[in-house]
Amino acid sequence: MADHATGDLRLSRITKRFDRFVAVDDVSLTVPEGSFFALLGPSGCGKTTTLRMIAGLDRPSAGSIDIGGTDITDLKPYQRHVNTVFQSYALFPHLDILDNVAFGLRQRGDKDWKAKSQEALALVQLPDVARKRPTQLSGGMQQRVALARALVNRPAVLLLDEPLGALDLKLRRQMQIELKRIQSDVGLTFVHVTHDQEEAMTMADTIAVMNAGKVEQRGDPATLYEHPASTFVANFLGQSNLLEARITGSASGGRMPAQTHGHDVVVAADRVPDGINDVWIGVRPEKLRLGDSGTNQLKGVVTDASFTGVSTQYLVRMPWGFEVMVVQQNDGSARATVEETVTVSWDPGQEFILDQRQDETAGAEIDDA
């Protein structure tokens, strides 16, 4: 039993095929010990399958998995020091809450199971339900019991499969904070699967964005947001304005000239991929400003303005028909009304540049799936 293997979790060239269908396609990932790692992606992209392979519930068709250098690819689920919080909770209906939580400890012959289980229930703030049955608890409480049942074993890796999926928004936010707190308190490695980009960004140290069985990009939330490596990541993580453009000259002083629909702009040279001239210039809505305070300026007509409290969201139609989204803080800066002609601007370095051969709509429609 690779019982006390701890260390980084490493997936090496993992592939999972169901008949012909490739659910996970040659994925390699390293999850550093003690980190909060999020697997983010749209429905059906292979997140659960990846998790099940780490847990041992599915066997990879190819590739290997190790924890701290100990190969666990061929170990049965019950031989791995990995525990899962299932999306469906999968609490045992015939056992009370304490027995549910103690299941793993007793299975491993831990004499101290009672105290540890009670401690785990206290950790998830459910100290008083020990003698109740799962069906007597609310969905949110069951979710926390499922978490306690996995946590109490202090596994080398804790897997969470969309554990907050069934909760309403408020409880969800609350549980996100709680999960994050628990993770830093106990210092375990968490692999958290979700298709909610906001959840991934607020909770994770590192995010891997998956699409159609592959990892598109891996990095910390800020890097993924500021420097998406593909249109899929750009659209899946937040909103993006993608402007069709051409690089028109070479770098000088860290800047590079470019042209979008006949308008000259300059971009930060270090953001331009090598050897590519036809590009998407991506600018996040909150990086665009109304008014001419930025170096790059485009003129357009406001077609929609929606007030959301802290900010106002504008749609501005460019002369070539494309609508850019501008999010303006309501901090006394310039306002505009519908039908007004405005200038929107940004400074070089606030954009990201992607190869134009990529589909500009990738990852966009499924944002809220």
Binding site: L57, Y78, F86, A90, F92, G104
Partner: protein, 305 residues
Amino acid sequence: MPDGVAAATVRKRPNWVPYALLAPGLLWLVVFFVLPTLSLASQSLQTGDVYNGYSLTWHVQTYVDALSTYWPQLLRSLMYAGLATLLTLLLGYPLAWFVAHRSGRWKNVLLVLVIAPFYTSFLIRTLAWQTILGDQGLLTSLLDRLHLTWALHGFESFLGAVGLGSGSQLLYSPFAVICGLTYNFLPFMVLPLYANIERLDLRLTEAASDLYASPVQAFRRVIWPLSLPGVVGGTLLTFIPATGDYINSVLLGSAKTTMIGQVIDAQFLRVLDYPLAAALSFILMVVIIVLVMSYVRRAGTEELL
């Protein structure tokens, strides 16, 4: 407040619908169960004979006689039924599991096959076992053909040694009776088990194995406890009628395998000792009720694990 008044009258009117729905069943029970049971109870306490009539004399001695004379048959019935129930469980559980979770699109076909024996008469089905287990029967000739007669003889001596056979033949032995009971009551075990097992959430076994339980432990600690309602239902439906059964013993057994059902049958229909037969029926009923109640209570507290 006309609305309030209307609501109040509606609420006050006695709701007779549930009683109306209950009535036919209740009537049936009274006519075909309660009244016969009372008449049986009264019969068991009467003295007299068929020709001169009976009178209620509260003759409790009949019970004492019945028990002291026929306790071996009673005990034997409970033992045969118990063994047959155990065998139906051992055969039925994997079968129900297979039909519920492994049979794919053959599920309905298999379910029909499970109840298919009901399409022929109980008597014929039991008689068929004579041709299977008989000295020149299917089993013997098959084993003969395979040159395995020695194995048959070995098995027969084994049955003789443990008291389930005569040592020289399969038919007309406790073994044959238990085989017949097992076969005849198997569907009564499989159907409740199937209904229960089909509803089991197999993801729970994944959760158990994720929590360090090997397949055997996962079965013992999760699947089996969750199957208990089906197991209890199946064992009751098998054990109760099997205890009172007499056809299997008549057709497949011998004088040494007489079961309590046979005794009651003989007392009622041949000896014509109605009080004794009634007393035996009552004793059987009480014994079964007591056994079932203690069993259900233990099953409820999961002590059966």
